[in-house]
């Protein structure tokens, strides 16, 4: 894949040694690399240009620090600039002084408006509110049915109403009815899910405008796909011009998109990204952290998200039990080993996990190694252990030649693979035992982690 930005910058600055200040000439190459990195992350080309100009203005004239390499120094400037662009303020939802507070969802087709509406309803409920959902997507087949299922899943109230003819008049009638329903049934928030539309579809954009006029919403949220490329600028700009958006929800952030669209959309609308969607479950809606996405955009890993993901997926108690067991030498059985493998599997593919790490410092080389990791290997090892008896798992020393043959047949592997696993397991066990000894801990304490 692509060389990490920091590595590129390090190379670009090789010639800089011995110079006192960053100058236009000596950072030109670095800016070129930054520009390409931002473009590769799908930040819009014009937005990139503006960012580069600002970064250049800030960098030129700065003294070359001794504490940081010039590469790191520039990265810091870039990072600060991007975080600032995205806005440091934690975005809050606005509420109407007179309930119900209306939240109007807007966006292109397939950006995730309906799912996000459900997640928002869940979020409001968790905050002690009573949301009412209504879908005015009378155009797409089964769109309203979809919101109904979503509402059931999050146990939120929904106003269904009757559609009749699929046109703007129906849409307007539905929201009026839904608003009355909210007041009557004591719901303090009304979430209006709308049909996906192209920003150049005048008819449907007019419909949005009339919805805005009718509802006077406190929030008009633009729901955008994190995988969006250069066009993000145009659609967001059009939606903002016609509707004066109040915020953005960036969806599908649980994938591996670098998410440069976040910068583009923020830049053209000036509106904060309020939430990110990070999964298909209805609680997978998180507040937005500019610093984290900046690392991701720059290809420098998202360590915090990785840690959070690991924390949420790994059964902590189990892990601790296992660690104690292993370190006290109380026996780390093949059964434990299998449990550990399963934990790793739960966290998702090794490649995507490693992809969240920065490809520099102690982690360099990992990305390349990840390409060689055979995900299937984990399954094979699991199959081998599954084919052992409980006694064998706890007392690996009893596994003789004929048992090995049986295990390999049972797991669809070869005797060599079984041998390999047993050998690796024995090594691991030995290593754990050593780690548990006080002398090892002392030695570790005296060591500094490289590059941290």
């Amino acid at each position: 894949m692509f060389e990490n930005l920091q590595e590129k910058l390090q190379r670009a600055f090789k010639s800089l040694r011995g110079q006192a200040r960053l100058s236009e000439e000596n950072i030109a190459e670095a800016l070129r690399e930054i520009r390409l990195a931002l473009l590769e992350a799908d930040v819009n080309f014009k937005v990139v240009k503006e960012l580069i100009d600002r970064i250049q203005a800030k960098a030129v004239g700065q003294e070359v620090l001794t504490a940081l390499s010039p590469g790191e120094q520039v990265i810091k400037i870039v990072r600060d600039e991007l975080v600032e662009t995205l806005g440091k303020d934690t975005a809050r939802m606005k509420f109407a002084s007179q309930p119900p507070t209306v939240v109007l969802m807007a966006g292109l087709q397939g950006s995730g408006k309906t799912t996000t509406s459900g997640k928002l309803a869940h979020w409001f409920k968790a905050g002690g509110h009573r949301p009412l959902l209504v879908s005015v997507d009378v155009y797409r087949p089964a769109a309203r049915e979809q919101l109904k299922v979503v509402a059931q899943a999050v146990k939120a109230q929904i106003y269904e109403g009757e559609v009749g003819e699929a046109n703007t008049a129906t849409v307007e009638r539905l929201v009026k009815e839904a608003r009355r329903e909210a007041i009557v049934s004591g719901c303090d928030v009304l979430i209006v899910d709308t049909a996906g539309r192209l920003h150049i579809d005048d008819e449907l954009m007019n419909e949005m405008q009339s919805l805005k006029k009718l509802l006077n919403p406190s929030e008009i949220l633009f729901v955008a796909d994190a995988m969006t490329g250069q066009d993000a600028v145009r659609s967001a700009d059009e939606f903002h011009k016609k509707l004066s958006l109040t915020g953005v929800v960036l969806t599908k952030m649980d994938g591996d998109a670098r998410g440069g669209a976040a910068l583009s959309i923020r830049q053209v609308t000036g509106q904060p990204i309020k939430f990110i969607g990070v999964g298909e479950k209805y609680d997978a809606l998180e507040p937005f952290h500019p610093d984290r996405i900046v690392s991701r955009i720059l290809g420098m890993g998202d360590i915090l998200s990785l840690i959070e993901r690991a924390e949420s997926q790994i059964d902590k108690k189990k892990a601790e039990e296992m660690a104690t067991k292993a370190l006290t030498g109380a026996g780390f059985s093949l059964e434990d080993f299998r449990d550990q493998l399963r934990q790793v599997k739960k966290m998702g593919s090794m490649k995507s996990l490693i992809g969240m790490l920065p490809s520099i410092g102690p982690f360099s080389g990992l990305q390349k190694a990840a390409d060689n990791v055979d995900e299937k290997q984990i399954n094979r090892v699991e199959a081998i252990i599954n084919s052992m008896t409980m006694h064998e798992r706890n007392h690996h020393e009893v596994i003789n030649g004929s048992r090995r043959k049986r295990i390999s047949r049972g797991s669809g592997t070869t005797v060599q693979e079984v041998n390999n696993l047993l050998r690796q397991y024995a090594q691991m066990k030995k290593m754990f035992k050593q780690m548990g000894k006080p002398s090892f801990a002392r030695r570790m304490a005296g060591m500094k982690l490289p590059g941290m």
Partner: protein, 317 residues
């Protein structure tokens, strides 16, 4: 077979071509305008010109690697002063892009005669799989072929209802199961029914999934194996539906879906917006995957065949 379907309808072809041109007009005007703008900076094509051109191609979502490769060749020629003007630069650029799209692998589908052709439709969430299937079944129905739809998206709320509405619109039967059911099981039922009835095509709708979710991706692998057991060589086509607004993550999508689901072609959806869909050039370049169709609207007839030459021609006319 998909790629030969449109060959027979000569009189229709101009109509389709016109519409496709319309769909890419915005892209074309934009790109052409920018190239003009970029190149008219100075009379000589210097390094800066090409740098800006690079950004121009990237802003059409071609991605930096593909852009570098294409421009690398032009840069050499420009350095040796072999390219004299904008017109020539455009022509050469067009040639390079076309060469990439033409190199895509378009081996015809192999199927045992008398058995249904199975088309598996995959993609990340919200790209337009179900809509594409609705339109695709209309294409086959218009050819007088029998089609069976398989609602294997048992996960997303109301996905089955959505496919059924498309089934009604196009007069196509839908084989389905309960929401939350096993996708491979409903696929099994659909293929058995199709075999018994000697249906021409079975189009399989799958749940949208991010390509990073390992377990969901291996579900696709399981579906493939199920299909193979019932109909030899199935699925004959695996279409990856990609949203034209997708940026460089499209490459990653194509890589992962090809690895897990054996993608044979791309459907570029939502090309009626302002997005350029240039990432398909990068995908063709790296994976040799052809674009089979483009989606240009929400109506039943809004699916058009993709022709690399027409596509690039309309970009640079």
């Amino acid at each position: 077979m998909i790629q030969t379907l449109f060959g027979s309808t000569e009189e229709k072809k101009t109509g389709l071509f016109e519409r496709m041109k319309q769909a890419v007009t915005r892209t074309r005007e934009n790109l052409a305008e920018r190239i003009e703008e970029v190149v008219s900076f100075g009379k000589e094509i210097d390094r800066n010109t090409l740098d800006d051109l690079e950004a121009t191609l990237i802003s059409a979502d071609l991605g930096s690697t593909t852009t570098q490769e294409v421009l690398g060749k032009l840069r050499d020629k420009a350095d040796r002063k072999q390219i004299k003007d904008v017109q020539e630069l455009k022509r050469l650029l067009k040639e390079e892009l076309l060469a990439i799209l033409n190199a895509a692998n378009t081996t015809p589908v192999q199927r045992v005669s008398g058995t249904p052709e199975v088309i598996l439709v995959v993609g990340v969430n919200g790209t337009g799989k179900t809509t594409t299937i609705g339109k695709l079944s209309q294409v086959f129905r218009a050819q007088g072929k029998s089609v069976l739809l398989c609602a294997a998206d048992t996960f997303r709320a109301a996905a089955i209802d959505q496919l059924e509405i498309w089934g009604k619109r196009t007069g196509t039967e839908v084989i389905k199961t309960k929401p939350g059911g096993d996708p491979s099981a409903v696929l099994f039922d659909a293929l058995q029914a199709a075999t018994a009835r000697k249906t021409d095509y079975v189009i399989v709708d799958t749940a949208g999934r991010l390509h990073t979710k390992t377990s969901l991706m291996s579900e696709l692998d399981k579906m493939r194996r199920t299909a193979q057991r019932i109909i030899p060589g199935a699925p004959h086509e695996t279409l990856l539906v990609m949203d034209a607004t997708t940026g460089q993550n499209g490459l990653q999508q194509a890589r992962q879906f090809t690895q897990s689901a054996g993608v044979t072609g791309i459907v570029l959806s939502k090309l009626d917006g302002t997005a350029k869909g240039g990432v398909v050039v990068a995908i063709s370049r790296e994976l040799g995957l052809p674009v089979r169709f483009v989606g240009v609207g929400e109506k039943v007839g809004d699916l058009l065949p993709f022709d690399p030459k027409e596509f690039v021609d309309s970009l640079f006319e």
